[in-house]
């Protein structure tokens, strides 16, 4: 078990708890080791039907024709669902709180914007029949040029493939979520050194051991009971009701025991279609992603591209930082506009820099829509920022920890988004880690404290 070092913040952490702070055994451990914990798929229902999807085979194409007559002939196939069967086909996951556009169809209408986009759902007596049925759907396409690079997507002569008219999300009239703090150009002019590098990442899958899924069971009174492994029960309920155009009270979501989420189970992708299928057939319907769907069709952590330009003084103070950040949202918004704003709020990292300029772009490309994942907006930004810190420290021949301590934010500092910092502890985690690895810090760095205002003392 990790050691709790009680010497740091000794006065602030003093307490007299009985239960808090003790290693109480997990209430779910007994169920886990005996196999009795009940996950979403561990419930069985008589007469269960299964739903599988026919998906786009192109990154970007117009749909000329959808022919599902052969699918209906597969023994065991019950129904085929197209966009016409979805009461409110256009969807945006944060619509309930007014973030982001309703830019994504539950099922594709006249075009597909990414490979793997759902076009037709097939409901059948068995999983095999549903798979067979989905494979028999014939879609004819006119292929269009796919845009697969975030910076290319934003160029003026790149074709716009989004209904809203831009290949990027518009933040209150701006092409990016902005941070403007101080005067970054003046800072660069004043700086002894300028450093600029580019960082990037590829999409990452949540890879929970349990794939995303649900079982929807029609109830005697006409309500639909959704057994789901969603990370957010009401999120799922609200969004599903909006898609179904049914009163929220028609639905009930049960879940709460999830085989890993990591942000991958908040997009509400399976429940609306399973509800439609359950209502159509009046049978319990299961829609669970296959592992390949989980890997390639469920939203990943966005790929990002980040340019950081720093103005730094000889003594190691960073006095200006400019960041151009691109989030590859893929074909639809989902949580990415939110994620880019979260990135903006995180910049310029846990350091106090008087001049900060950032443009965080949420850019659409013809790939699987990205969305929430553990720390999104921050994880890749931290990779960029902390790599930048290392490069600058090396260039100036300053110890990497001392360089961070010199610039570390403290209580009372104004952050770039104009909130006064409080409860900070960056200095202390650096000091403690230095101690852990025997990295000797000079006295003035050991004496620093997050609660001592900058300029005072050391």
């Amino acid at each position: 078990m990790a050691r709790i070092d009680t010497e740091y913040f000794r006065d602030e952490r003093a307490s007299d708890f009985k239960v808090i702070g003790t290693a109480v055994q997990r209430s779910d451990a007994l169920g886990h080791v005996t196999g009795r914990t009940e996950f979403m798929e561990d419930r069985t229902f008589p007469n269960l039907a299964h739903l599988k999807i026919h998906r786009s085979s192109h990154h970007h194409a117009l749909i000329n024709d959808v022919d599902y007559s052969e699918a209906l002939k597969v023994p065991g196939v019950l129904r085929v669902i197209t966009y016409k069967d979805v009461p409110e086909n256009w969807y945006g996951v944060l619509r309930l709180i007014g973030i982001g556009p309703d830019d994504e169809p539950v099922l594709a209408e006249d075009r597909v914007l990414y490979k793997g986009e759902p076009i037709v759902a097939v409901v059948a007596d068995s999983e095999a029949a549903a798979l067979e049925g989905a494979s028999k759907v014939k879609v004819t396409y006119t292929e269009l040029k796919a845009v697969l690079d975030v910076e290319e997507a934003m160029l003026p002569d790149t074709p716009v493939f989004k209904r809203a008219g831009t290949n990027y999300f518009v933040y209150e009239g701006h092409h990016a979520r902005r941070i403007r703090f101080g005067d970054v150009e003046a800072g660069f002019a004043e700086a002894d050194h300028i450093f600029e590098w580019r960082y990037s990442s590829a999409p990452i899958e949540h890879a929970p051991t349990e794939t995303t899924g649900c079982i929807v069971v029609p109830q005697s009174g006409g309500r639909l009971l959704i057994h789901s492994n969603t990370q957010a029960a009401f999120f799922t309920l609200d969004n599903t009701a909006l898609t179904l155009k049914r009163p929220f009270t028609d639905l009930q979501v049960k879940g709460g025991t999830v085989g890993g989420g990591f942000g991958g189970k908040v997009d509400v992708m399976v429940e609306p279609l399973a509800c439609i299928a359950a209502a159509m057939t009046n049978r319990p319907v299961k829609f669970v992603y296959s592992r390949e769907e989980e890997m390639q069709v469920s939203s990943p952590r966005a790929a990002e591209r980040i340019y950081i330009k720093d103005g730094v003084m000889n003594d190691g103070r960073i006095i200006a930082r400019k960041i151009m950040l691109y989030v590859d949202a893929g074909a639809y918004a989902r949580h990415s506009p939110y994620g880019a704003t979260k990135a903006a709020a995180h910049l310029p990292g846990p350091y106090t820099i008087p001049n900060v300029y950032a443009d965080c772009h949420c850019v659409y490309t013809n790939r699987t829509p990205s969305s929430a994942m553990r720390g999104f907006g921050v994880t890749i930004a931290d990779f960029a920022i902390e790599s930048q810190m290392d490069q600058v420290a090396r260039a100036l021949h300053i110890d990497p920890l001392e360089f961070r301590l010199r610039n570390a934010y403290r209580d009372g500092d104004m952050k770039a988004h104009r909130k006064v910092a409080s409860g900070t502890a960056l200095i202390e985690v650096i000091q403690r880690t230095a101690e852990l690895v025997g990295h000797e810090l000079p006295e003035e760095y050991r004496a620093m404290s997050s609660s001592t205002p900058r300029g005072a003392g050391a």
């Binding site: 078990m1 290693a23 055994q25 997990r26 779910d28 451990a29 007994l30 169920g31 886990h32 080791v33 005996t34 196999g35 009795r36 914990t37 009940e38 996950f39 798929e41 561990d42 069985t44 095999a128 949540h206 890879a207 929970p208 051991t209 349990e210 794939t211 025991t257 999830v258 085989g259 890993g260 990591f262 296959s290 592992r291």
Partner: protein
């Protein structure tokens, strides 16, 4: 589609079920015998969540056509505890905080059982190899490896004590 009666001994109890051609051992356990401990994490043999013992050896049950195992013995996580009393591996997983979401846990425990049956005193690296087919996305594996080593130690201690008592 032809149905076949399959007889198996599951956790020591004789059972029979009807198998369709596409009924895997995993689906038979879950849907016909009501044993939900083995999980479907991928249906491709690559996550290990469905690991059970088939005639004493660990298998990914999602890749075993049920029709092929008539007469076999199957052991699942449900058969490990003696009433309320957990077995060594289960108890060590609880004590060592070796579970988080719990989805991989039954398969992980069955892989550990298979290892300890063959090798009562494994090294950490032998544990690594034994659970290399079991994906865990939560724990970072270290507490799982520690728990399996601890279970092995407890089991050896008990065997040693039993031997001493027998020779007394």
């Amino acid at each position: 589609m032809p149905l076949r009666i399959v007889n198996v001994k599951v956790n020591g109890v004789d059972q029979a079920f009807m198998a369709k051609p596409d009924t895997t051992l995993l689906l038979a356990l879950r849907e016909q015998l009501g044993l939900m401990g083995a999980k479907r994490g991928c249906a491709q043999g690559a996550c290990g969540s469905c690991t059970v013992l088939l005639d004493g050896a660990p298998v990914v049950s999602c890749l075993v056509p049920a029709a092929t195992i008539d007469g076999a013995a199957v052991a699942t996580v449900e058969g490990l505890a003696d009433g309320q009393e957990l077995n060594d591996v289960q108890q060590a997983f609880v004590d060592g905080f070796a579970t988080q979401c719990g989805f991989c846990t039954p398969g992980m425990i069955m892989s550990a059982e298979a290892l300890l049956a063959r090798n009562p005193d494994p090294t950490a690296d032998e544990v690594n190899e034994a659970i290399s087919g079991n994906v865990c996305r939560c724990t970072g594996y270290a507490p799982i490896v520690s728990a399996i080593l601890e279970a092995a130690r407890r089991r050896r201690d008990r065997a040693g004590t039993a031997e001493q008592e027998a020779t007394r």
